[in-house]
């Protein structure tokens, strides 16, 4: 067996750049050790992209870090080999090198470089971007400073940073998220690495920026002939860029194969589940369930604005007032699901918060028709009236960890609105909380426990139970699924739809995820820079939008078929060119 593996190696050795064999990385020792990476083997080909996909805690990041021996303590490589064929054609075992030895340092950043999820934390805030790139060049190559600077400018041009001669002298905080990630990539390319390890490089970015970064990595890979090891949890991203795919769960590699194999002939049920949970979001759930939307208006949002006033900064510089919401008008009908989609900073969360009056509006009206037929203007409602309205409009929050008070039991958390409203006390309260927990699929035994006993998905269910406590008519779900793993995401959405069927609810779902919106919503409003640029039926917006921004947004969403290569053929939107059009609409 061993012999055949070796001969196979020799045959392909010119193509293989990295061979990981039986790698094991544990946190802690003895029986209590957490096996973050448990006996993993894979091969990386020269000039190809290998995607490692898995949910949070599956060990994919630790695998990548083990290759460069930068696992955070107490993590330790316990066994296995990481054979690198870049320098020595016979291979060099990186796992055997000492983590602070000169050899491994000459490989880190030089032969194998890495980019991370959050570029803000991996770039130094007190040095200019140029300084940081030059430092990497000077560290690994024998060139003088002028030469290094010239190369740094060239690199910034390669990663498509506009006006590189000027941009090189800027600081990290002057760059946007996408620019920072480009700068990180430029830095990692400084020494022409043979392998680029990208650890969730696009997770913190908006979908259009993600598409640009993915296209950039793909393009650079072909021109530099690098091998790319791409770590992600997003099957869509995988479909766009992977040549080969490894699926990880609980520190083990469940399946390994070419992109086509994994997407069309997956064998492991977990892989199928991962792919299904993404493909499921490609169609609307309404198609199978049927819509419950009526033509009775539940809420009218009229010309709502939210303006943060001008502030003079410390140095006396005046910042102009910031329009987070600019004359937004929308209707919500009874029984329908309205989606609000947009990128970060588009004002979609601000709109959600203004509607429920967590934030006060600067202008406009939010007319809500109460259960007893009264019309209440939320934008101007007083404390007492708001309290009435807050029984009918409830909110589900994004972060399931921050939104539950860790000092209260689940029973207390879910029962709090009932207790405060004075509708239930004592045994009746207990019964009602039990009923609510049952509705969201939680056992009644959960009541006595504290939030720290539950996972993210379970906590989100508890958050939903709390929102349902007072039998509301409208629920605002602010990115309610974006903190969850993909497999949980569709479960929570299905739960909300089931609840809608039985409880006569309407939803406003705020999300950046087109898939979630398409699956869940009847109508969609697309927001861009505080304005609603387009709204209409979800089917139409998600397949055949009118506004160029929506077109760009939809086409930047990664698909689920490796052959599509949607991102390469995406529609681009230039905000400055379309500026006139935007203010006119």
């Amino acid at each position: 067996m061993v012999d055949t593996v070796n001969t196979a190696n020799q045959n392909q050795s010119s193509d293989i750049i990295l061979d990981v064999r039986n790698l094991r990385t544990y946190f802690g020792t003895g029986e209590k050790a957490v096996k973050a990476v448990d006996d993993i083997s894979f091969k990386m080909m020269r000039g190809k992209t290998l995607c490692i996909v898995g949910e949070s805690g599956s060990g994919k990041s630790v695998t990548a870090r083990s290759i460069l021996q930068i696992v955070d303590p107490p993590g330790k490589i316990m066994g296995g080999e990481v054979i690198y064929y870049g320098k020595d054609p016979k291979g060099q075992d990186l796992a055997k090198l000492h983590e602070r030895s000169a050899e491994i340092r000459s490989i880190r950043g030089h032969e194998i470089s890495m980019i991370f999820q959050e570029p803000m934390t991996s770039l130094s805030p007190i040095h200019t971007i140029g300084n940081q790139i030059c430092e990497t060049i000077l560290l690994h190559q024998k060139v003088d400073e002028a030469e290094a600077r010239a190369r740094a400018i060239e690199l910034l041009r390669r990663v498509e940073i506009p006006n590189p001669q000027v941009a090189i002298d800027k600081y990290t905080f002057e760059y946007s998220g996408g620019m920072r990630q480009r700068a990180m990539i430029a830095m990692s390319l400084a020494c022409n690495p043979k392998i680029l390890i990208a650890d969730e490089p696009t997770t913190a970015l908006d979908v259009t920026t993600q598409a640009e970064i993915l296209a950039l990595i793909k393009e650079l890979q072909t021109s530099y002939g690098m091998g790319v090891l791409f770590i992600t949890h997003d099957m869509g991203v995988v479909a766009e860029i992977a040549d080969e795919i490894g699926v990880m769960q609980n520190g083990r590699m469940l399946e390994f194969g070419s992109a086509e194999q994994i997407f069309y002939e997956a064998k492991h049920p977990y892989t199928l589940e991962l792919i299904d949970s993404v493909r499921k979001l490609e169609k609307s759930a309404r198609a199978s369930r049927g819509t419950r939307a009526t033509d009775k208006k539940l809420m009218e949002i009229r010309n709502v604005s939210k303006i943060y006033p001008a502030r003079s900064s410390f140095m006396g510089k005046k910042n102009p007032p910031f329009k987070a919401l600019d004359n937004v008008s929308l209707d919500v009908y009874e029984g329908e699901n309205l989606g609000i989609v947009g990128e970060s900073g588009s004002g979609k969360t601000t709109l959600g918060n203004c509607v429920i009056r967590v934030l006060s509006c600067s202008g406009g009206e939010v007319l809500f028709r109460m259960a007893d037929g009264r019309i209440s203007d939320l934008a101007k409602a007083g404390t007492h009236e708001l309290r009435q309205v807050h029984r009918e409009i409830r909110m589900v929050f994004q972060d399931p960890f921050a939104s539950l008070n860790p000092r209260m039991t689940i029973g207390q958390i879910v029962g709090e609105p009932l207790l405060v409203a004075g509708t239930h006390t004592g045994e009746a309260l207990r019964k009602r909380v039990e009923e609510l927990l049952a509705m969201v699929g939680m056992p009644s035994g959960a009541m006595e426990r504290y939030p720290h006993a539950f996972s993210g998905g379970q906590r989100q269910r508890i958050g939903i139970a709390r929102a349902l406590a007072l039998s509301p008519r409208l629920i605002i779900a602010d990115e309610a699924t974006s903190a969850l793993d993909v497999t949980l995401r569709s479960q929570v959405l299905d739960l909300l739809l089931d609840l809608q069927d039985t409880l006569n609810l309407s939803f406003i779902l705020v999300s950046h995820d087109i898939g979630v919106i398409r699956y869940f919503c009847d109508r969609v409003a697309v927001m861009y820079k505080g304005q609603v640029v387009e709204h209409g039926p979800a089917e139409k917006i998600c397949s055949n939008p009118d506004h160029p921004y929506t077109k760009a947004l939809i086409s930047a969403v990664p698909g689920t078929h490796p052959r599509d290569k949607r991102i390469v053929n995406r529609h681009r939107y230039d905000a400055s060119a379309a500026g006139i059009q935007l203010s006119g609409s």
């Binding site: 807050h390 029984r391 972060d399 921050a402 539950l404 860790p406 405060v420 426990r449």
Partner: protein
């Protein structure tokens, strides 16, 4: 679950040499952690901090001593004796299991008349639960029972030596603990009250109110403490009875001490005001009071307790400093600071170094409370890592 517990118990039984070993604790935790409240989690985490744990025990012991001072001190601390002036501490010897001390004979230096003590062979046995001076236990029960004392009531024993008037230092240090430690506690309660109210208002409402309170805090913090104490203490009438002096000294100390606490509370309020679960509570229909007292304060309680514990030592040190300078408590009141005042003269330090022992007591108490407070602060947020 029960199988798991059973297994853990057998593990614990196997490690019978250490019946209260970590295995037992882990078993309890494993069964209960999901149901564990904030305080249980804090306690589990605090216990891991060994130094803090034993410091807490020591602090508890000190307060026990302060409460039962009369019972624990062998003699009346105000009882002078001309034949035992500046007597050095006596070593405890054992006759079988019976403890005794050797008697000291007083002679005087013929030239300077300084007392010279010579150890004699005569033994004074120490007996437990003996009758001594009369007092009221906890201020209620009249009794004359003491933990230990000389076998023969006419004899005296000085385990920590005696002072200028021949009074027992051990009894005086024990009595001093009562004033000093209670001063720390009462002073802290007062400054906690001020700190939480002002810090809370500052943090919750923000804006102009916050600005004003913070400038006041900064002003107070910028004052040099000792001169201010001196000024305030000198404003106190000299002829006040000791308990009035005691109260006013406490007030003086805590008027300055609340500022740090106010900052801690303000910072916590500011941070928590934007927490999602606080917003959720508001949307649940909670009134402002309920949001503060039901949702925000419990999350801060542990931090406040830690800050308070760390504030007690500074109160104790402040009291000691003031009394040492002669501006705090006055004799006949006994506190560690008052006792240390006797050790101001160089001649005393060279002849009777044991008069420094109240200083040692202060150091130990302050250290223990600092460690205890540190441990509490580390355990205060059991949900962080």
């Amino acid at each position: 679950m029960s199988a798991e517990n059973k297994q853990a118990t057998t593990v614990a039984a196997a490690a019978a040499a250490e019946p209260t070993s970590a295995a037992v604790n882990m078993a309890n935790l494993r069964g209960g952690i999901e149901y564990a409240s904030q305080w249980e989690l804090m306690w589990a985490r605090f216990k891991k901090h060994k130094v803090a744990y034993w410091s807490m025990m020591f602090v508890a012991f000190l307060y026990f001593v302060a409460i039962f001072a009369e019972f624990l001190s062998p003699f009346n601390p105000e009882d002078p004796s001309s034949s035992t002036v500046y007597q050095p501490p006596q070593m405890v010897h054992f006759d079988g299991i019976k403890p005794y001390v050797k008697k000291y004979d007083l002679t005087r230096d013929p030239e300077t008349l300084a007392p010279i003590y010579v150890e004699a062979e005569e033994k004074t046995y120490i007996k437990f639960f003996v009758k001594g001076f009369e007092y009221k236990l906890l201020g209620l029960i009249p009794t004359d029972m003491h933990l230990f004392g000389p076998d023969d009531p006419s004899h005296k024993i000085f385990l920590l030596g005696s002072d200028r008037l021949g009074r027992d230092m051990l009894s005086r240090v024990i009595y001093g603990a009562r004033f000093t430690l209670s001063m720390g506690l009462i002073g802290v309660i007062l400054s906690t009250f001020l700190g939480i109210i002002l810090g809370g208002i500052s943090g919750y409402y923000g804006g102009k109110t916050d600005w004003f309170i913070q400038r006041v805090v900064e002003f107070i913090l910028s004052l040099p403490t000792i001169p201010i104490w001196l000024a305030m203490a000198s404003a106190m009438p000299r002829n006040w009875p000791p308990h009035l002096v005691y109260i006013s000294v406490t007030v003086i100390i805590s008027l300055i001490g609340w500022t740090h606490l106010a900052r801690v509370v303000r910072g916590k309020f500011l941070a928590m005001r934007g927490e999602v679960f606080v917003i959720a509570a508001k949307l649940d229909g909670c009134s402002e009071g309920r949001v503060i007292f039901r949702h925000m304060l419990p999350s801060m309680a542990s931090h406040v307790i830690a800050a308070v514990t760390l504030a007690i030592p500074s109160m104790i040190l402040a009291e000691t400093t003031l009394s040492f300078l002669g501006l705090g408590l006055q004799p006949p009141a006994i506190s560690w600071g008052v006792l240390l005042k006797d050790a101001q003269k160089i001649s005393v330090i060279s002849n009777a170094p044991w008069l420094f022992l109240p200083g040692l007591a202060t150091v130990l108490a302050v250290l223990a409370m600092n460690f205890f407070g540190d441990g509490l602060r580390d355990a205060a947020d059991p949900y962080s890592h």
